[in-house]
Amino acid sequence: MVKITGAGAGKRGMFMTISVLMLGMIILSLVFFLSEQLIASNASAAESGDIDRAAGTYANIEEEVSRIVSFYINVSANGGNVTIEEPVPFPGRMSDALDAFSQFEASYAEQNVSINLTNTKSGDFMIMPGEIAISNAPGSFAVTPQNSTESSESLQSYYVELAFPAGRIKSANWSLMSNSSANPISVHVRAHDPNYAVVLDVYGNVDRYGTSVLNLTDALSNGTQVALVRFSSPAALQVQTGSAIGLKTIVEFYNLVTLEANDTISVRSTVNKTGRLRIA
């Protein structure tokens, strides 16, 4: 057995002490590093929670606005088809219901919520992509694409169904027809009374960039015009009527589409979320 004495033993003791000190420091550094990582992870989780909360509130409000709209008018986007079924004139009570819901959310939401529904209330929507405008005015309904490949060129066909009160409809005739295009739009206009005793079906391939007008005339008086369906450039549709009717329009596209309102919902809390309102 070798016994180290004197200066050798002192040096070894000092070396041991320094080694142990360094070990302690390494452990402390490791603890500090891991602790920082845990704090960062917790902060990240908290931030995810905030984002989740804002996104959840936004989605909830969007869904309920869509539900209110669907109660008054039937709107849906199914693949490349958009269906809009509504009474003409456009129901004014929808505007009151949307206002009440906005007020409810402003009063009871846990986050700061602001909802702008100006366009939705007046029945103005947007088919995306392509920014194809759907608009409602007193006695008028219109689908107006942009003059572009992804807008007017994406449109494949129109189906327009007009439901008139009993005994109001007699005939449907083209007063103007433009069908010279090599790339036409297929149209089908159906007019009927409530019991389908009178059903008028008009088919055609109309010029995407021309004007075609279909006149629907009255059965009661002397052939008075009761409604007008106009197809005009660029691939636009307009329905005009002076009486209260039920209107169903199916617009078919070559591509997948969604229906949005040109309005926004904003949820403001620790994390803000603002987006355009998707209806279908």
Binding site: D52, R53, R67, F104
Partner: protein, 146 residues
């Protein structure tokens, strides 16, 4: 003799310092271990998962029409069969009507167990509108799960 005693005193001092150092390092090591174990046992993302579970449950209950029944037994049975085993819940439904430009609370229901005081509780909320017979009702469903 005096030199030997001084040498022994110095050795004792070094021994004491060494012992204190060893104990200190041991204390640091144990404290650090406890700190890390305590922090790592709090899964920060578990709360997010529970909140999402709550939201999904509220959405399912609303869309399936279970809320519309206002049936305590059906609601509690559905909740208990959907939640993970051992989990508890408290559900509150407040329904308002828009009368004279203000919202009046017309119905309020509480379901499930009392909220615990000593456990982590996760909350979810869903607002929904019901329209029937020309009447519109605005309901806030609040769910706490633990």
């Amino acid at each position: 003799m005096a030199g030997k005693r001084e040498g022994k005193g110095f050795k004792g001092f070094v021994f004491s310092i060494d012992a204190i150092l060893a104990v200190s390092i041991m204390v640091i090591f144990i404290a650090a271990s406890f700190l890390l174990i305590a922090k790592s046992s709090q899964d920060a993302y578990a709360s997010l998962q529970m909140v999402r579970l709550g939201k999904d449950m509220l959405a399912v209950l609303e869309k399936s029409g279970t809320f519309a029944l206002w049936d305590k037994e059906v609601l509690e049975r559905t909740m208990n069969s959907s939640l993970p085993q051992g989990a508890g819940f408290h559900l509150q439904l407040d329904t308002y009507k828009y009368v004279n430009s203000t919202f009046a609370l017309v119905d309020s229901g509480h379901y499930g167990q009392q909220l615990p005081r000593s456990t982590n509780v996760y909350g979810a909320r869903r607002d929904f509108v019901t329209m029937s017979n020309g009447e519109t009702e605005y309901t806030i469903a609040r769910l706490w799960i633990w």
